[in-house]
Every structure is written in structure tokens, then in C-alpha cells.
């Protein structure tokens, strides 16, 4: 009996029926296609390249490639004074500039021995929460667009315009504020600010409700996001997830509650976790619902701050800021709750210079995105888009 040489035939199954009869069956050869999503793509929320290995419509693996927006934030920090770093923290997560500045100030103030005036703290919380609402509106609106619902995006941006006008009135800029300085604020809020903010809160509550009904309760939207991209809670913690991502997996963890800073201990608000009735815990819909519910909680916080805030007589927002910010020798890891998760700063100071020795920004999106490779296994391409949208990344923060 002669042996057959099947080397050049590819994947073949050989069955020998008898001495003279051999059956060769060639499998239908299908190849996996490498699809590069990005860096220029409408729904990757920035310059992110996802290299997807696809088998038909099923993605076997989606590997993210970063670095397209890397702007050397950390190297820059080592060469300038602490106050000059504040505008750069804005530009990392540019959709929530106030929250990033807050995180940085919280971190540095741990190394300084100063006492922040109460009114400063309340104003910081108000602008942070306004920025949180604005950021969540962008997240919700762009998520709708990724899935084909074009109208909620415009409703979100219409309401976001009001917030941006308020923040421009307070700080002078619509998006990159440089408002929350280390030890205080750059200036006090205008005279009628509280009144206008209260008007906004009253106007916006029913709009948020309408947006919820339009998008989140839409059956097609639910079908597209329910049960997709499920992340169990313990795996999420191991991946380092935080913020709405972690709360979407059912873990009741909010840095404003669990590791409080500023005046958050005095404020009453709920930490939103999904209850599994409307969505599966840990899927894209849960994460989206957490963001939608957090908008209402932020409105509550803003109202309480306006009520509790001390008046502006004799108030100087820069009174606590030292002439030269020279933190004592030591290291600190300070963090705050960004709309996207935990933004932390590891700062190493040598006590003598006005520049940090090392300032590492632990960005929430960077950590959230690292789970992409494992979350995307076995999903369809439209589901991949749904998952990226639910992670809510801002490439400025991922690449710094």
C-alpha cells in the first residue's frame, strides 16, 4: 500500500476504505479576516485602533492599539510648577475637565498643610457635578448614535449647551476650564450663579426623564444592549474597573462615598447600581442605565450644595493658596470620582522644589479599556460597537 503525500493539499481528511480505495475530504477553507477599526472611525470615540480578527461577522479577538493621542503629560509635569499642571489635567479627559482638576487638587492638597474655605469646597462640588452631567450627556448621546438613534444625541447636546454656558459664566471657558486651582479657585462664581443653576436644575429634570423614555426604554435599544458584554463583578475588580463600569456590574462602590473628599460626606445621594429587573447585571445596558440614573443624583447634589453654601461676603477664593506651592517631602496617591471612574494621581515630591519629582496619572479609561480584548471575544461587530460605546472612553485620558 502506497502512502499518500497530502502535504500540499491543505486541510484534508484521509480515510482508507480498502487496499485500493482512499477517500480524501477537503474541509472548506475559511480564513479569518483582519479588520482594522480606526484610528479614523466614527464610533471609536477618538483615535483608537482596534484590530479585529473576524470570522464572518464574529470577532474572535479585538486588540486595542493606543498612543495616537499621547502628549507626554507625565514628562511635562516634571518640568513645570504644580499650578501650571492644572490646565494640563483638563486636557486629559477633556469632557470632564472640572473633575480632573478636582482630582489633581485633592491629591496635591494632601501634601500641603492648608485649610480650604468651605465656600470653595461647595463651589468645587457644584461645578464638578455640573460637569459630570455634561459628560454623561455626551456618553448617552454618542451611545445612541453608535446604535443608530440620531435624535437623542441632539437632545443631549441641547441641554449640555446650558451647562456649558453656566460653566463659561463661572470660569471663562466652555470646555477647558483651569478653574479649580490647588488650594482654591481661580475666581469666585458670579452673583446670580446660584439662581441660574437652580433654574437649570428645574428645567433639566423633566428633560432627563424624557431622554430616558426616548432612548433607554426603547425596545430596539434594549435588544441591542441587553446581555452584551457581560462582566462579572469580581473580574471587573481584578481588571481595575471603577466608576459606572464597576457599578454596572453590581458593585456598590463610589469614591464620593467610600473614600470621600471635599464636602461629599455632608451630602445625601444614592450610589446607583442596576437591580437586574430591566437589564442583566454587568451588561452594556446596565452601564448605560447607571449613567442615566447618575444624572438625577448629580442634580440632587447640586441642589443641596446651593442650599448649604456659605455666602460670598468677604470671600476670597485664593486666600488659602500659598504663594509658592512647595509640598512637603513624601508621596501621595490621591484620587477622585471622574464620570468615567477613578482618576488617581501618584505624586512624588522632594519637599524642596516647586515641581513634582514624578506625577503619574492613573486614568480611568486606560484601565477600563484594557478589558477590551477579553470582552470582545465571540461578539458580533455591531456588538463590538455597543461594547466600546458602553465603556465610554475618551482617548485624551487613555493616552494622556
Amino acid at each position: 500500500m502506497q502512502e499518500l503525500d497530502t502535504a500540499g493539499l491543505g486541510s484534508v481528511r484521509v480515510t482508507r476504505k480498502s487496499d485500493n480505495v482512499v477517500v480524501l475530504e477537503k474541509d472548506l477553507a475559511t480564513e479569518q479576516m483582519v479588520l482594522a477599526m480606526g484610528p479614523q472611525h466614527p464610533s471609536t470615540h477618538g483615535v483608537l485602533k482596534l484590530e479585529c480578527l473576524t470570522d464572518g461577522e464574529v470577532v474572535t479577538e479585538a486588540v486595542p492599539y493606543l498612543g495616537y493621542l499621547h502628549r507626554c503629560f507625565e514628562k511635562y509635569c516634571e518640568n513645570v510648577d504644580y499650578p501650571a499642571i492644572v490646565p494640563y489635567t483638563d486636557r486629559m479627559d477633556y469632557l470632564s475637565g472640572m473633575n480632573s482638576e478636582m482630582a489633581f487638587s485633592v491629591a496635591v492638597e494632601k501634601l500641603l498643610d492648608i485649610e480650604i474655605p468651605r465656600r470653595v469646597e461647595f463651589i468645587r462640588v457644584i461645578v464638578s457635578e455640573l460637569n459630570r452631567i455634561a459628560s454623561h450627556l455626551v456618553a448617552i448621546g454618542t451611545y445612541g448614535i453608535d446604535l443608530g438613534a440620531f435624535t437623542p444625541f441632539l437632545f443631549c447636546f441641547r441641554d449640555r449647551e446650558h451647562i456649558l454656558s453656566l460653566l463659561e459664566w463661572a470660569s471663562g471657558a466652555r470646555m477647558l476650564y483651569n478653574y479649580i486651582w490647588i488650594g482654591g479657585l481661580s475666581r469666585d462664581v458670579p452673583a446670580d450663579f446660584n439662581k441660574r443653576v437652580r433654574e437649570f436644575v428645574t428645567y433639566f429634570r423633566p428633560q432627563a426623564r424624557e431622554l430616558y423614555r426616548l432612548l433607554t426604554e426603547n425596545e430596539i435599544f434594549v435588544k441591542r444592549t441587553k446581555g452584551i458584554g457581560i462582566m462579572p463583578a469580581d473580574v471587573a475588580i481584578n481588571y481595575g474597573w471603577s466608576g459606572p463600569m464597576l457599578r454596572g456590574s453590581g458593585v456598590k462602590w463610589d469614591l464620593r462615598r467610600n473614600d470621600p473628599y471635599s464636602v461629599y460626606p455632608e451630602l445625601d445621594f444614592n450610589v446607583c447600581v442596576p437591580d437586574g429587573r430591566f437589564s442583566d447585571i454587568g451588561d452594556c445596558l446596565s452601564r448605560h442605565i447607571v449613567r442615566a440614573l447618575e444624572i438625577e443624583e448629580s442634580l440632587k447634589i447640586i441642589e443641596q450644595c446651593i442650599d448649604k453654601m456659605p455666602g460670598s461676603e468677604g470671600f476670597d477664593p485664593k486666600s488659602a493658596i500659598p504663594k509658592r506651592i512647595r509640598p512637603k517631602e513624601g508621596e501621595v496617591y490621591g484620587r477622585a470620582e471622574n464620570p468615567r471612574g477613578e482618576l488617581g494621581f501618584y505624586i512624588q515630591s522632594d519637599g524642596k522644589s516647586t515641581k513634582p519629582l514624578r506625577c503619574k496619572a492613573r486614568s480611568s479609561c486606560f484601565v477600563n479599556l484594557s478589558a477590551m480584548k477579553d470582552l470582545s471575544r465571540g461578539q458580533l461587530i455591531p456588538d463590538l460597537v455597543a461594547i466600546i460605546g458602553s465603556i465610554d472612553i475618551v482617548l485624551g485620558e487613555v493616552d494622556r
Binding site: F155, K223, P382, V385
Partner: protein, 358 residues
Amino acid sequence: MGNSLNVWSQAIASFQPMGLPLGLVILAAIPLVFIALYSLTYGVYGERKISAFMQDRLGPMEVGKWGILQTLADILKLIQKEDIVPTNADKFLFVIGPGVLFVGSFLAYAVLPFSPAFIGANLNVGLFYAIGIVALEVVGILAAGWGSNNKWSLYGAVRSVAQIVSYEIPAAIALLCGAMMAGTLDMQKITMLQSGSLGFAHFYLFQSPIAWLPFLIYFIASLAEVNRAPFDIPEAESELVAGYFTEYSGMKFAVIFLAEYGSMFMVSAIISIVFLGGWNSPLPNIGSFALNEMTSGPAWGAMWLIMKGFFFIFVQMWLRWTLPRLRVDQLMYLCWKVLTPFAFVSFVLTAIWEIYVP
């Protein structure tokens, strides 16, 4: 008006140089092309304005009062743009793709009866022809998707083909229910059978208790046929950039775009003809006030059909800007497991109604 129109059309129809029916071609083709192009340009303008008002903004306002001349400006812009053909594209397929697409969607206009006096080609299998010729679009889409030499375009084209081919089945069965009620496939006869002094009561939608089912099924299936949301995966902007026409620029892009709006009007016209009476006036004669007679006639007929067509275009746009899009497998599920069984059920019920109830 009818008489002088007849004299004119007789004169043009008898224009036969060298024995070729050039006159008839001019008579039939040019109005059709004009109607098509005008409804398209104002369809695009309408979409932009309607979507703008639904999204709490204004839409085009600069060009002309209320932006009326916007589409004209866009067409002029697209005509003078550089026509880019990618180096590695399959040039033949790339170029004929939009052409075949456009032709496929316009060929169906030939059998639409715009008024009692005007129909492009009075085929006695007009409905069958309309359903079948739309399948030519599939060839155009595949040619465009493959010829672009772009993986994303290919994805879009493949999805689109699957979608169109699948949804033709419930669409055809639903239309056949209408044909059953008429007893003929001839579009002009179907419309004439829906005439009467009671106006809308003669429309097939109201002539049978289950006519709303094929009406609804055809409406949904036609959304999928023309790749409109919520079935617009083939051109899913946020997933595939622009799907099968990502690589097109300039006039070819304009042609594809116009083909899409042309198909939209065509399916709207078909559903109006089969279920809503076509060029018949919906106004009834109230006692001695002969509203129906007053609003019928060759010119009135054309106006009624176009208005009904625009109404359905409005509903299509309304749906597009409200609903997210379905995923591919959900779309296929909807077609094969929901629409097709219901289409068959409605077919049987319509047959029973027609046989046992005169």
C-alpha cells in the same frame, strides 16, 4: 384642460422619425424623469428639514428662503467634485455599481400610474414587474461593495444583499393580497377598481377587515428594501462609515443617494396604489356636494398620488430619526420568523374573505 392635453399628446405620440417611436419615448420618459428628479431633490430637502425639526434645530436656512435651494446647491457641488476611483478598485464594477443601482430603482417608475391619463407602460403584469425589477438593485449594491476594494464596503454590501433578498418575500406576499382583492396585476386596473363616489371607503385598506395586516407588513418590508432605518445596517454610519458607498465621491455618490430616495418614493407609490387608491381622490361625495368629482381628473390624480407618496416618505423619515437600528441577526429573525408567517396568514385570510364575502 383634458382636451388640449390630448391634442398635444397625440401630436407628440405620432412623431415617429424613421419608424422609431421616438415621440412616445419623449412623452413617457421625460415627465417621469422630471417627476422623479423633483421628488428626489425635494425629498432630500424634506429629510433635512424634517429631521431638523424633530431634533429641535432648524436645518438648512441659508440657500434660498428657508434653504429651499439647498439640494440644488448640493447637486451643483457634487457635479463639479473630483471623481476619485481607488487605485486597487475593480474599475469596471466600481463604475457600473451606482449606474445599475440607479437604473434598478427607476425602472419601476415605468409601471406607476400617475393619473388616469398617464402611465409609462401599461403592462398587464405591472405589479409583478415592479416587485421583480427592484431585485436589480442587488446587483448594483454587490458591484459597488466588491468593486470598492474595501473590507467595510464589502460588509455593507453583503448585509444589504441578504436584507433585500430576504425581505422581498413578505413584501411580495403582502402585495399579492392586494392583487387578490383586485383580481388583476395591472396597476392601472387596480387603481381604477378603487374608484367610487365614496372616496376613501373604496380603498382596499378599508375594503377588508384584515387588509391592515398586509399593509403593515408591506410597509415594514419596504423599509428594509430601501435600506432605511431601523433597517439601515448596510449603510450604518457609525459602524461602517458609509457601508457600501464609502469609497464613492462626487457624481457617483450623488447617483447612489438619488437612487435611495428614488426607491423610497417608489415603494411609497406602490403602497399607495395597491392599498390607498393611487390617483383616486379620498374625498367622498357628501350629498350634493360632489367633492369626489371635483377633485378627480388627470392633473388631480397625479397630485393625489404624489401627496400620498410624500406622506409615506414622511413616515419613513419619522421612523428613521426616532428608532435605533436593528442588528443583522435580529433583522433576519424579524423577516423570517415574524413577517413571513404573518404574510402567509394574511394571504390565506384575504383569500377566504374574497371567496366567501362578495
